[in-house]
């Protein structure tokens, strides 16, 4: 059993004492380990527009490496502008996953556009930074991973990894839009692609994680680590209905694989539950697992899909990696 001990909330923009472009939400945390700090990229939102709709931007905070609950710096402005008129990421960049590669930092993110019959669509974009992650620039105006015959819409939730010289991207792909309670709701599943350069991708064309809640289960945030000869994935899943509540909200699942293609799901191995009260009492989801100074941590978002910020947990013991 992966037993996670909660250390508390790390960041919620609503707690900021000084003014910020961030109004609400701190979603999909993703880390880069620095010499004396841990930088956490995440996605946040200014106040909604007159139409009540939100735009989502990529942001970061720096945590003290010696005390990860201590925030040293809050990013002053979004690190990436939104896409041009009519492009795939015109209306938002969320979630984000970052990786350091030689002299640059790459951010893979889902870009959002708005549609007429369904509310939105998404595709995966790539932006790079050459100034240590302060600002990012797109490689092109279009997405780096887009729709294909068996992935017709909603490519999102990217998680980037590099094992050896090979790039790996885990993401979700939409399967169908269903009219539930009169409103179109998407079903999406975890998939993967690999690449020699992180730009040109070979999709593996396979749903990786068996459904637990039936064919309408929605899966997201496939966060993969390699330990003890096995690949370990922590991810989020929920039912298609009633997902904004405590009962139906995203939970954290777990699967392991010897080869990154065949995955064995075993959610019973994750032990991180809802708190009795407070910011993570309704939801614990969007896990990001990272290792620093000999300890394994999980950043995760809480209630309201991260509207209430994200927090930190530490793995109580490490024997699980071998037992899974």
């Amino acid at each position: 059993m992966f037993r996670w001990k909660k250390l508390g909330k790390v960041f919620d923009p609503q707690d900021l004492k000084t003014g910020s472009w961030m109004h609400e939400f701190a979603q999909s945390p993703s880390t880069l380990i620095g010499e004396d700090h841990v930088r956490v990229y995440f996605c946040s939102r200014p106040a909604p527009g007159p139409d009540g709709q939100y735009l989502s931007y990529i942001s970061f905070i720096d945590l003290e490496r010696d005390n990860l609950l201590n925030i040293r710096r809050v990013c002053e402005q979004p690190v990436l502008s939104l896409g041009k008129y009519g492009t795939f990421d015109e209306f938002g960049t969320y979630p984000v996953s970052v990786i350091r590669d030689r002299g640059e930092i790459r951010a893979y993110y889902a870009g959002w556009t708005r549609c007429e019959s369904v509310p939105f669509n998404a595709a995966i974009g790539l932006a790079t930074s050459r100034d240590g992650g302060e600002t990012f620039r797109r490689l092109g105006d279009g997405p780096v991973l887009s729709y294909s015959p068996d992935e017709p819409f909603l490519l999102g939730s990217p998680r980037i990894r590099k094992f050896g010289e090979r790039w790996h991207l885990w993401y979700v792909a939409g399967k169908e839009w269903l009219r539930t309670d009169g409103k179109p709701e998407p079903v999406y599943k975890i998939r993967s692609a690999s690449s020699d350069d992180g730009v040109n991708w070979l999709k593996h064309g396979k749903d990786l994680i068996a459904d637990k809640l039936g064919p309408h289960e929605c899966q997201a945030c496939p966060d993969v680590s390699y330990r003890n000869g096995q690949y370990h994935m922590f991810f989020s899943y929920r039912d298609i209905r009633n997902y904004k509540s405590r009962e139906g909200g995203y939970r954290i699942g777990y699967a392991s694989s010897p080869d990154m293609i065949d995955w064995k799901r075993n959610d019973d191995l994750v032990d991180i539950g809802l708190s009795e009260t407070g910011w993570d009492s309704e939801m614990v989801n969007y896990p990001h697992v990272f290792e620093v100074d000999g300890a394994t941590y999980m950043l995760y978002q809480g209630n309201g899909m991260g509207r209430a910020g994200f927090g930190l947990a530490v793995l109580d013991s490490s024997e699980e990696w071998g037992l899974a």
Partner: protein, 317 residues
């Protein structure tokens, strides 16, 4: 190249069309069958919100193209699914005989909020000589990519030397050219190759030079090999004002190549232009060149993007 115009050969208002369509017969494209030439086109219905949806239909002609045999009575393809790339219509459709089957490269449209719509290229396959087509997946074959950010459309596919070649267009920008009008788009012709017609490698560049200016819109390439030279027809127009102002509207462009890589544009050699008056006097667009029984034909649309039907020309020299 010198073409002799044979006039308008199909008027959609004279026929009962499937899917409640009443006007438009756009982008005619031919499939030569044993006993007839089947000409696919896109026609339109008004949907429940009052907007147009394009549907694929066809008209069958005798092989000499002199008389119409019949018009499709059933939809050729079912509509695209909720949220899919072709949910709001297919226009145009390009067909290619491939052994026992017929491949259709479709351009699917879906409506958006900030800009009116986006498009991607899909594949559908027929096993009944093109009466009906089934989608190869609910998603597109070619859609937006890093350097082709939207409006990937107008595929024309042909086999040359065992390789499948696709000419298509991609959008380069959406721009507001006037204060009062909604934004207009700019798109250019590109090329891709494939060993199987399904997996494509794109060149990632504009292959036909601009004649008007950098905002020239280029559409619907069609390519035919004659006497060792590849001839491309396409249509081009100004980026805005092209609906009202005939001088800014679509005209037919022409380019030639000997290696399928490098194209020399020379519209003055197109050998066809708008008429002094009549159905193709204000506009010429959506060309499609094909060969049948030793003759080379050019199908195309005229005024109002094919609202009133399509016409035919035959190559004289």
């Amino acid at each position: 190249m010198r073409w002799r115009k044979l006039g308008k050969i199909f008027d959609p208002t004279e026929h009962a069309l499937p899917s409640r369509c009443v006007e438009f017969a756009q982008s005619p494209q031919a499939l030569v069958l044993e006993d007839r030439v089947r000409v696919y086109f896109s026609t339109r219905e008004r949907d429940c919100v009052g907007k147009f949806v394009s549907h694929v239909a066809f008209a069958d002609f005798e092989r000499d193209m002199r008389s119409l045999i019949g018009v499709s009575t059933e939809p050729v393809m079912v509509p695209g699914g909720l949220g899919c790339f072709d949910e709001h219509g297919i226009f145009p459709i390009n067909v290619l005989r491939d052994g026992d089957r017929v491949l259709a490269y479709t351009t699917g449209w879906n409506r958006k909020i900030s800009v009116s719509a986006d498009a991607s290229i899909g594949l559908a396959i027929s096993h009944d000589d093109g009466l009906t087509f089934q989608r190869h997946g609910a998603g597109p074959l070619l859609s937006a990519s890093l350097k082709e950010p939207f409006l990937v459309a107008d595929a024309f596919v042909a086999r040359h030397g065992g390789v499948y070649h696709m000419w298509y267009i991609f959008g380069t920008k959406w721009q507001k050219f006037t204060e009062t009008e909604p934004p207009d788009r700019v798109y250019k012709i590109a090329h891709a190759t494939s060993p199987d017609g399904v997996n494509w490698k794109r060149d990632g560049r504009q292959i036909i030079g601009d004649r008007l200016d950098a905002d020239e819109c280029q559409a619907l390439p069609t390519v035919i090999a004659l006497n060792g030279v590849y001839h491309m027809y396409f249509c081009y127009r100004h980026a805005y004002g092209f609906r009202q102002d005939s001088s800014r509207a679509y005209r037919l462009g022409y380019a030639s190549s000997t290696d399928l890589e490098n194209w020399v544009r020379d519209d003055s050699s197109a050998g066809i232009d708008v008429s002094a008056d009549g159905w193709d006097a204000r506009m010429q667009c959506y060309p499609h060149v094909f060969e049948c029984d030793g003759k080379v034909y050019l199908l195309y649309n005229g005024n109002e993007f094919g609202r009133h039907g399509f016409g035919l020309a035959v190559l004289e020299a």
